[in-house]
Symmetry: C2
Subunit: 202 residues, 2 copies
């Protein structure tokens, strides 16, 4: 990852910047990440960042686009080839959890962006991400009802909200305990309860 050449092509430098922000968000409050801290983390001077991004807002936008691309690609990959909708939901859940455990800064950044009052470019990217995420969920819920795995009276919107909330609850616990690995450990137990809540009666 760290080639020892000092001068990097612009696109590589942008990629390194994004990864630095993601890494920093794993250990500190995203809104307190300064351009100086980003530059230091990648052994660059602060001013040099602005050769590659017009302003800080553009950095955040690039970061959230990175998150959206990687997360959606990952859950799409995890679901591939699974014919049972319920099993697909579980795979989607677990791959999301794995992603978050690898990048603990991601949920912090997303929540932080969402609670901005103004619709910043980064916030818009996050909103689009969750919209697409919800669409994937809704499709799985529909086919789960069709094939009888899921309760036919299930409210799709509520089930999607709770799916995301299930992950949010795990993140909250890991923040409380200051232990990221906890997320991976507790995820199956928490999903089991969720699963029981949406399944059709046996």
């Amino acid at each position: 990852m760290d080639t020892h050449s000092k001068h990097l092509p612009a696109d590589e430098r942008r990629a390194v910047t994004v990864e630095s922000v993601v890494a920093l968000a794993g250990t500190q409050n995203p809104s307190e990440i300064t351009t100086a801290a980003i530059a230091k983390h990648m052994n660059l001077t602060q001013g040099a960042l602005f050769r590659h991004f017009p302003n800080k807002e553009a950095i955040w936008q690039a970061v959230m686009e990175w998150v959206a691309d990687r997360l959606l690609a990952r859950i799409d990959r995890s679901v591939k080839g699974i014919e049972s909708p319920l099993a697909a939901m579980e795979a989607m859940f677990m791959s999301h959890i794995a992603f978050v455990a690898e990048h603990p800064g991601v949920p912090r950044m997303m929540f932080g962006e969402l609670q901005r009052a103004e619709p910043t470019p980064a916030k818009i990217v996050v909103q689009a991400l969750i919209k697409r995420y919800g669409e994937r969920l809704s499709r799985l819920l529909d086919s789960g009802k069709e094939n009888g795995e899921l309760s036919p009276s299930l409210d799709n919107e509520a089930a999607a909200t709770l799916f995301i909330g299930t992950i949010q609850g795990l993140i909250m616990q890991s923040l409380l305990a200051g232990d990221v690995e906890r997320i991976r450990r507790d995820a199956p137990k928490v999903f089991a309860i969720y699963r029981r809540g949406i399944e059709s009666a046996q």
Copy 2:
């Protein structure tokens, strides 16, 4: 609330300060609330705040203590006199939702404090709040298993994590939609799924 005397006793001024912060957090990112903004909201000069608080950190601590006291008192009141543990959990859930709908800044502030790296006084207060909250939940879960309402194989820790996550999911949706009332509207549907997940088989 707004007496038109300019001079307030110190304790009243502190109370007004806390309420101002809670109100401001309802419309903007908590970490972006400046002492100047707080002072402006309460028709005071910025410097005067420091007659009542040694520093900004102390303001945040006072705010989170306010939150902890009010939230715990409210859920305790809501549970009182309900003998069914499952019904008590539902009452606890709904009163929490009502509190959050009245004070939309609260979950933002809590999440914001939790993701601080350093254990600030405010963060410590939040951690204590969630600990006590979890203890109340755990007691209800235990008695629910005893009286047969809840699945005997239920994992208490996972059920508590999901209970809080259920609320977090609703908050996330309200942030996305930019509509606080949504929380109140969707809460029953989401809790119904959670309930089904923890109930004993019929």
